[in-house]
Assembly symmetry: C2
Homo-oligomer: 272 residues x 2
């Protein structure tokens, strides 16, 4: 469930809290989350110091001493929760990382998530992260670069914006209001957009995500300290508001199937 706003907050907090700490133990409850056998995973990590934490697409990267990287993906939703020295940790975790000062953090995946280890040479060959596009909120994401995604091809605008290989960080939650704010139907082909459409879409994308980031993400997600974000359902314009009136024109917001995902649109403001 976590998308870029929540993941930016998490990585920031993790960087501040964990940088300089050294891993003393790794507890693996669910083996399937890993890309290595638990013993190898643990052995690679224990003794490493956390140098830096940052985002790449929907992955959180923890750069380690000894040329290593811990890569976390929250899948369909997860809680990454810090515990201080002597504090109890969250129950129901799938993986737990423990530091030599007695603190640590747990990963609790709702359905499925990933905790991968890669050495620096292996990193380029790590399929899930090797070809991620630039973060939707980053200096690279200029209007010029954004525009290069459009104009050619018969792909749909929703499919393009949620394709992590082209632009990363947008999922099926924030995309709803992004498209509404741009007044675009999710199945519009990317080649059918005018320059003005693309510019509106660019500002809708960065605006929606930046505002959510400033509110520290969704209210039904938790940060590294268990604190929920400030974006409530009432902040949504059309997302997950089927049956309610469009904030712009009052028409009834519809829930439709677009390919295999759900979309929420105002049928008047976002004609096909």
């Amino acid at each position: 469930m976590a998308e870029l706003p929540e993941l930016l907050v998490l990585a920031e907090q993790m960087g501040t809290e964990l940088a300089g700490k050294t891993l003393a133990d790794v507890e693996v409850v669910q083996e399937k989350c890993l890309n290595l056998p638990p013993a190898a995973f643990r052995q690679n990590l224990v003794g490493c110091r956390i140098d830096r934490v940052y985002n790449r697409g929907k992955w959180i990267f923890l750069d380690l001493s000894q040329e290593g990287h811990l890569l976390l993906n929250l899948g369909m939703g997860a809680d990454l929760l810090y515990y201080g020295p002597g504090q109890a940790w969250d129950d129901g975790h799938r993986v737990r990382f423990h530091f030599d000062d007695g603190s640590g953090f747990t990963c609790r995946f709702w359905w499925f998530g990933h905790a991968h280890y890669c050495s620096t040479p292996e990193l380029a060959g790590h399929e899930p992260t090797a070809s991620l596009g630039p973060l939707a909120l980053s200096d690279e994401m200029t209007l010029e670069w954004f525009s290069s995604l459009f104009g050619k091809g018969r792909r749909r605008v929703k499919a393009m914006l949620t394709d992590q290989k082209r632009i990363s960080g947008i999922g099926n939650v924030y995309i709803q209001d992004i498209l509404f704010r741009a007044r675009l139907h999710p199945t519009r082909p990317v080649s059918g957009l005018s320059e003005a459409d693309v510019a509106r879409l660019y500002h809708a994308t960065t605006g929606t995500l930046r505002e959510a980031y400033e509110k520290r993400g969704l209210a039904y997600e938790k940060d590294f300290y268990g604190v929920p974000g400030g974006v409530t359902m009432d902040d949504f314009l059309v997302g997950y508001r089927e049956g309610k009136p469009c904030p712009e024109c009052g028409a009834t917001v519809a829930k439709i199937r677009t390919g295999s995902t759900a979309s929420f649109i105002c049928p008047v403001c976002q004609p096909e």
Copy 2:
């Protein structure tokens, strides 16, 4: 345009007429039809004797002496026309094969066709023919084998029957009445068919093609001697009869788009 009935007649006539003759010359007008440079194509063929002619999918195979094979595909429609010793050949041909007795035949492709040469060892690597399914009219095409195409998968019945890799020889003309006789809508998924549906479809397939073969194919196609077949538009039940009444129920036959091809159906007898 030629499908199995026309191609069976052609291969039969070509076998009877050409077996034993030796190629003396090959004239290439349209280079793009070949899989080899014209000089190499010609060199491989001249001096070879025709041993046997038969069908594989929509390809006509001419087995040659010296471990060679001439493979003809008529594409969107073509005339293969025989000329006797001293007779004039058809004008507008793309390739012409001339025998040492003065006879020969021409290939006139309406839009695009292929004349390929393969040595016997190369044959297995000839992509277009390497994985053709069994001919729709052949001893292999038992009800049991036919049934194995159905039951599983989300493919559409029309796409399955015209997939030359699964069952070969059916094109967009005969498929129309095959589906009508089986009372099946072209976009029905193969996994949704009952045993009775499959049995009806089997008998519709073999019946439609066999009857057309007995009439020596379509009236707007020509055999090896330029003689048209006996299947006229009036013989079609729903194929290419949009706007006319269904022969079964009188409802108006509709022309619809199914994927990228056209389909002709009775909307009452072939519900979706």
